[in-house]
């Protein structure tokens, strides 16, 4: 893996960190979710920086080129994040369902009280 590619990837990571921060300041992403992405990027950057030293490890694990190991771990971590997001959406879906039902029943009670008075 050439040092030029490593520098390019690190610059992309830095830009992403700035982007996340700007969104935290605008309150467009919650701290909980931004931490998930920070962890992702920091892990990726650690891997990138340590590339010159882990050539042997990546060979031992069976990667022919060490850059492939970076992309492989990046891919696995992304799948974990995507799945956890599906879980969050499912929980939210269930909460919205319950809220919708309770609001509708309350609305009905309110209306019938008006009619009684």
């Amino acid at each position: 893996m050439t040092s030029r590619l490593i520098v390019l990837l690190i610059i992309i990571c830095l830009f992403f960190i700035i982007y996340i921060f700007s969104n935290i300041f605008k309150r467009k992403i919650s701290l909980q979710f931004s931490l998930m992405w920070f962890t992702y990027i920091i892990l990726l950057m650690i891997l990138l920086i340590s590339i010159p030293f882990i050539g042997e490890i990546s060979k031992f694990l069976g990667f022919e080129v060490s850059s492939n190991m970076i992309f492989f771990f990046g891919f696995v971590l992304l799948i974990i994040i995507a799945f956890s997001l599906s879980m969050f959406v499912s929980i939210l879906q269930d909460k919205i369902k319950t809220l919708t039902q309770e609001v509708a029943i309350l609305k009905k009670e309110l209306n019938s009280n008006h009619e009684d008075n």
Partner: protein, 238 residues
Amino acid sequence: MKSVLIIIPAYNEEKSILNVVSNIKKVKTNNYLIDYIIINDGSSDNTKKVCLDNKLNFIDLPNNLGIGGAVQTGYKYAYYKNYDIAIQIDGDNQHNPSYIINLCDEINNGYDLVIGSRFVENLSKFKSSFLRRVGINFLSNLIKICTGVKIYDVTSGFRACNKDIIEYFANNYPIDYPEPDSLVQVLKQNKKVKEIPVEMNERKTGKSSIRGLKSIYYMIKVSFAIIISNITAKKGNR
């Protein structure tokens, strides 16, 4: 005298909903106090207006939740209002409300859940397509394998249940395609379920929601849901 709530989920049923309610009002009985509630599941047509204009008793869901979410709203309402029996019936006139009394009588006889069935005896003029019968038969057998109980019309949306099941359904009910899945959950609790023959009409308005590619998705989803319910319920009992 037992109080009965009839739950009518309605999604875009402006043409049939009035008819369903007037048919329910025609049911005469001295043994039960029968109320009905329409659950308007965020319809995009004039269902809400029809309900308002005719002063029907209805709950208006602010979002479209799907059939399961709508029916569950009815069960929650029945639970909060302390009804003895809840009956769900389709909003499209498929089910003949005169059988409500038969369903209630079986609940009175000690059954927990009573299903109005198309297949126990052939009363129905209702003709399912061949593929649909194959599908229902498959689900019926799957439920037999999972629970040991043979129910023929596992997808019937015409069902009555007692207080225990009302409470259970108010808290646990699948969102879409709920009938077979919820049936397994009830059977797994060793509740007494009975199937009685009812007459079903051909759909007068609207089409079945399950057609074409959707039916393949339906079969996979429901089979998966049955197996999952089967496993999780087992854990709950031990």
